[in-house]
């Protein structure tokens, strides 16, 4: 049975909602890792070379580009040239700026979409749109849709896992990984490193584990008596199973986040010996372990409340954030490749939007949802490719435009899911991630 239909029909109470489901068609990838650069990285300084912007630096936006809505009224500000040089890399000659010396070694694996666009100049709206398809609050996130449609290969862990920045909240908060109107089972579960990676995983310090195991066995026995007196109630069975899963999670989750058995070489690969990128590197390695164990969808955030939001001094901000993430992401790609996992994993890199070609406060840049870059790597996508283009200065997507909706439809397609079939009946409507209208898949980037 196809995922959408199975999902539409709704799983009867008691049936495990996270059991793996068959996709609609042959998938290219089995799992997704989304590297979310919160705050909005600057495409014109990272992945979208604009010689014209360099040439016009200091001058106003050419009149031919017309009026543009900006968050901080920067439309009339002088243009700011790219703050780092771009170079060609790999066999493909894909251009990447000097901000990413490590990642650029994997240029031939990256498929950069340079013509992304969305609908809001505001952070939270764009965070919601990138995660849920809508600029409004409260709809299910991509990870929830995927978990709902495909279930999980790992029954000891949630299907959708989020590794938030320990530094603090993103703009828009946990609704970014919420399940909206989908059942709560499918919401993103935040996971942290350390002995208690999942909230309330461990008993309070006064109760030791053997003590809790005995209590759990009592609970299970009493719940079975209760169930025996109430024949035919699957939900009560499901509840007994949930306690058994909780029990397994108590050992599975700490094992998953226990990096002690990873080799020194692997840790170095992720930059864990380097104070400048140790924290993000650790989370990248955690992410790989989650994927390896069968977790369906992992989302990893870079950037605290401010994050990549370079209103003042894009050079300084991006130097910090690229330093934190460059080596770990390169290490992650390398590790996925050598384990043969990149073939059936989709890696997504991007923020909620890009940044303006105009300057803000001299050396910063304002938000730009009208044109920006996102890259994909892994199964099913062409590596060493730049797809689409912004205009001469990187203000708007201009050629082969890819809306956030198209990106979502393409992600689902790579997972073998038809975005029109994956729906959930809610308040009289068949709700979809990609909305009511038909949305094109970006076929040109498919391998």
């Amino acid at each position: 049975m196809a995922a959408g239909q199975a999902a539409r029909a709704g799983s009867p109470r008691g049936q495990n909602p996270l059991a793996p489901r068959k996709p609609h068609f042959q998938p290219r990838v089995k799992r997704v890792l989304w590297l979310f650069m919160h705050g909005g990285p600057s495409h014109v300084d990272l992945f979208d070379p604009k010689p014209e912007l360099r040439r016009l630096a200091g001058k106003p936006l050419p009149a031919s580009l017309g009026e543009v809505m900006t968050r901080r009224d920067v439309a009339k500000n002088p243009l700011l040239g790219p703050v780092k040089p771009f170079r060609r890399h790999g066999q493909s000659g894909l251009e990447i700026s000097d901000f990413f010396p490590h990642l650029s070694r994997y240029a031939d694996d990256l498929c950069v979409i340079r013509s992304m666009h969305g609908d809001s100049v505001n952070h939270p709206q764009s965070v919601y749109q990138m995660n849920t398809g809508s600029i409004l609050m409260g709809r299910p996130s991509v990870g929830s849709w995927v978990a709902y449609g495909l279930g999980s290969e790992n029954q000891n862990m949630p299907a959708f896992v989020v590794l938030p920045e320990p530094g603090g909240g993103i703009k828009g908060g946990p609704p970014a990984w919420g399940s909206g109107f989908l059942p709560a089972t499918f919401q993103g579960t935040p996971i942290r490193s350390g002995p208690a990676p999942i909230l309330h995983l461990r008993p309070a310090p006064q109760i030791d584990l053997p003590q809790q195991r005995r209590a759990l066995s009592l609970i299970n026995d009493l719940n079975r008596y209760h169930r025996l007196q109430r024949r035919g109630d699957d939900e009560l069975d499901a509840r007994i199973m949930a306690y058994e899963l909780a029990f397994r999670m108590q050992s599975a989750a700490p094992e998953l986040v226990d990096l002690s058995r990873e080799t020194r070489e692997t840790k170095q690969l992720y930059g864990m010996d380097d104070r400048g990128c140790q924290e993000f590197g650790t989370r990248c390695l955690l992410a790989r372990r989650m994927l390896e164990s069968g977790v369906r969808f992992v989302q990893l955030y870079s950037g605290d409340t401010g994050g990549w939001d370079a209103h003042n001094g894009v050079l300084k901000n991006h130097t910090t954030y690229c330093r934190r993430t460059d080596k770990p992401i390169a290490g992650l790609l390398c590790d996925l490749k050598r384990r043969g996992m990149l073939e059936d994993t989709l890696v997504i890199w991007g923020g909620e939007f890009g940044r303006m070609p105009m300057s803000e406060k001299g050396t910063g840049r304002d938000h730009n949802p009208w044109g920006y870059s996102v890259w994909l790597a892994g199964g099913g996508v062409n590596g060493g490719m730049a797809y689409g283009a912004t205009d001469a200065v990187g203000l708007r997507a201009a050629e082969h435009k890819v809306h956030v909706r198209n990106l979502h439809a393409t992600i689902l397609y790579l997972l073998g899911v038809d975005h029109q079939e994956l729906s959930f009946f809610h308040n009289g409507l068949d709700e979809r991630l990609t909305g009511p209208t038909d949305v094109g898949i970006v076929r040109e980037i498919l391998a």
């Binding site: 109470r13 008691g14 909602p17 809505m69 900006t70 968050r71 505001n122 939270p124 709206q125 409004l136 609050m137 409260g138 938030p164 603090g168 909240g169 703009k171 908060g173 946990p174 609704p175 919420g178 909206g180 989908l182 709560a184 919401q187 579960t189 935040p190 999942i198 909230l199 309330h200 995983l201 008993p203 309070a204 310090p205 109760i207 053997p210 003590q211 005995r214 209590a215 066995s217 609970i219 026995d221 009493l222 719940n223 008596y225 209760h226 109430r230 024949r231 035919g232 109630d233 939900e235 009560l236 509840r239 949930a242 306690y243 899963l245 909780a246 999670m249 409340t305 308040n427 009289g428």
Partner: protein, 664 residues
């Protein structure tokens, strides 16, 4: 003025139809820049849909056997069961009934003493008196306000990036609690939330009620304030349509509704009712609606719902499909000071002739009592909505509600005192389990697995709020103060760290405030309160007519390991151990009675005794210092620390039982 426009429906599945406007209701809709409104006319077959038909009180059906019937409700239910040759379950036992009504009406477990008294009460009207007692309890308003707050997508912050405080939002919550406790007639309840300021000028409470309209998410610092205002208006319009009329009017924001006879123009006409009352100011949260200003700016249809693309002008009007009589919105004349568009709307919605309003609310109330509505899509009674299982019962209840002057308490009483509500959900402990009942249940389950015919009661799971309240109640921690500003119980640091700023969750300094009922816990849009969120509490960003009911391992983890459960377990065991009972069996019985309202069964007693022996010995073997154990509060002198710690674990286990959170 009559206009005739040939249209092509956007869905391109409808045939072109001739539109001959309702007499006058669309007066003044001038083509703007040559644009005209194109919409499909309402047809006779549209009006024939069950929920759009005029409400007529049906006759109570005749049934073959009146045995066990207590109210006309039972006749409607029995008639359909007889059709299908299905029987119904016998009445549930006394203890089960008391727990059912207590949780249903007050959201709190009955005290052990109440159970004892009710089980022993042989008077023929014992049940009815108990129902009246429950309905008179102020806990009723606290419980049922949460159902309404789900519909009102209530929260006390704006959401989006800054998630700023709405410092007065709790006043609306208190208004709902008070209105329900006072049994404010439902028609007035609706009117005040839509237009309390216009209808009862000078009454600050009525004005506060309009916060319903603006309780949704909002982004005060958005770039375009015009976009912000447009989003707010869309959200209000969609919510009002869904909550009061049971119509997904919001679907018609961008294009005509795909299935229901609701045009895009219908959406913008309804929206126009609210336009003069919603004004925004950059950076400032909204709270209550503004009094109407005169003259109001003209309203427009927005092409594809885009706030930048004005289409033809529209005049405020009610959705045509629900407005058979062509009632008109009172639009202010230039020389009249205040427009009363919302007052008109509120009056129109609550006219007894409105076919939807009473049907929608009785279906909701039924759903909260039985776990499922007579129609299972409570906010969509349109053509895509679920056909009611008992359409005549639904209409009879709706007519009865109006006849009872829209008294919700009368409606509750009517439903609760029916035999249908009192049926067993299955075998319950202590019942003598006649084999005929077991056979009946088996047949019922086989032929009516979803229990649409209500031959038995649905077993229901408590919501996260009710689970927390129950834990606090059985452990004696619950602090029953009502109303006022919301409270913030402590939360784990990993939850608080997902907030934009750590000061977004400042724990209430007064310890007793941490043990107030869940309805008083501060609702922050950008915070998932774990105990509530894992048990499917909606996130407050859209109106929620029916909560999900998932069963997950994270629920088990919260119940097993949250500091609240441990604290409740320590108090619950403390209460048990300080009582006069000193034998194991006596203590266990007391613990079960406090938490579950019953004594343990022999099997349970035996299993618990076995656990107790092993557990105490194992704790003792570890040789842990008493300080490192989770000891009961208060700790009785006569009990060893190991023994006492084992009782905490007992209490914790009881709080984790299915029976603690499932109501038969």
């Amino acid at each position: 003025m009559h206009r005739c426009v040939t249209t092509i429906c956007l869905a391109s599945i409808c045939l072109a139809a001739i539109y001959c406007g309702l007499p006058g209701s669309l007066r003044g809709e001038q083509p703007d820049d040559g644009q005209r409104i194109e919409e499909t006319a309402i047809t006779k077959s549209d009006r024939d849909h069950w929920s759009f038909r005029p409400l007529v009180r049906p006759d109570v059906p005749a049934v073959k056997s009146l045995a066990g019937a207590r109210s006309p409700i039972d006749c409607f239910i029995t008639a359909r069961l007889e059709d299908q040759e299905l029987a119904f379950m016998p009445e549930a036992d006394r203890r089960t009934l008391l727990r059912r009504v207590a949780f249903d009406i007050t959201g709190l477990p009955p005290l052990a003493a109440e159970v004892k008294a009710f089980v022993a009460d042989d008077a023929p009207d014992a049940f009815e008196r108990m129902v009246d007692r429950m309905l008179a309890s102020p806990a009723y308003g606290e419980r049922w306000s949460q159902h309404w707050l789900d519909l009102a997508r209530f929260a006390e912050t704006d959401g989006f990036e800054h998630d700023e405080l709405r410092p007065q939002a709790w006043r609306y919550r208190d208004w709902v609690v008070r209105a329900l406790n006072a049994d404010l007639p439902y028609d007035q309840f609706v009117r005040q939330q839509l237009a309390g300021d216009e209808l009862l000028p000078g009454d600050p409470d009525a004005r506060q009620a309009t916060a319903f309209c603006l309780s949704g998410p909002d982004m005060p610092d958005i770039n375009s304030q015009e976009e912000r205002r447009s989003d707010l208006l869309n959200e209000i319009t969609g919510t009002v349509g869904a909550v009061f009329l049971g119509l997904q009017i919001g679907c018609a924001r961008c294009h005509d509704h795909m299935y229901d006879p609701i045009s895009q123009a219908d959406f913008y006409r309804l929206r126009a009712v609210f336009e003069p009352s919603v004004q925004v100011q950059r950076g400032k949260s909204v709270d209550v609606l503004l009094g109407a200003r005169v003259p109001a700016d003209p309203s427009y249809l927005l092409v594809r719902g885009d706030w930048r693309r004005r289409g033809p002008q529209v005049q405020p009007a009610y959705p045509r499909i629900a407005n058979r009589d062509g009632e008109r919105v009172a639009v202010a004349k230039p020389d009249v000071k205040a427009g009363r568009r919302r007052a008109s709307l509120a009056t129109w919605i609550t006219r007894p002739g409105n076919p939807l309003t009473a049907r929608v609310i009785v279906n909701r109330v039924w759903q909260y009592h039985f776990g499922q509505g007579l129609s299972r899509t409570p906010s969509d009674l349109g053509t895509m909505g679920n056909e009611p299982s008992h359409p005549k019962l639904l209409d009879w209840l709706a007519a009865e509600l109006i006849e009872q002057k829209w008294s919700l308490k009368s409606l509750h009483r009517l439903i609760l005192t029916s035999a249908t509500y009192r049926r067993a959900s299955g075998r319950s402990p202590g019942e003598s389990s006649p084999s005929s009942a077991a056979d009946m249940l088996a047949k019922n389950r086989e032929f009516d697995p979803k229990n649409r015919l209500l031959g038995r009661m649905n077993r229901q799971r408590l919501e996260g709020e009710a689970i927390r309240d129950s834990m606090l109640a059985v452990s004696g921690l619950l602090y029953r103060q009502m109303g006022g500003e919301s409270v913030r119980p402590p939360l784990p640091p990993e939850v608080v760290s997902t907030l934009l700023r750590p000061n977004h969750w400042q724990v209430s300094p007064k310890p007793s405030d941490q043990f107030r009922r869940s309805v008083y816990v501060f609702v922050r849009r950008n915070l998932h309160f774990p105990m509530f969120a894992t048990f499917d509490r909606p996130d407050g960003n859209a109106s929620c007519p029916q909560r999900g009911r998932s069963t997950t391992a994270t629920q088990s983890l919260v119940l097993l390991n949250s500091p609240l459960t441990l604290l409740a377990a320590r108090h619950l065991s403390g209460r048990t151990l300080v009582a006069a009972e000193k034998t194991f069996e006596g203590r266990l019985t007391l613990l079960f009675q406090n938490a579950l309202g019953r004594a343990p069964l022999p099997d349970e007693l035996q299993r618990c005794r076995q656990f107790h022996h092993k557990h105490v010995a194992a704790i003792r073997e570890k040789g842990r210092s008493p300080k490192s154990l989770a000891l009961p509060i208060p700790l009785p002198d006569s009990t060893t620390p190991e023994e006492a710690a084992a009782w905490t674990d007992f209490a914790l286990a009881v709080l984790n039982l299915s029976e603690f959170i499932y109501i038969d």
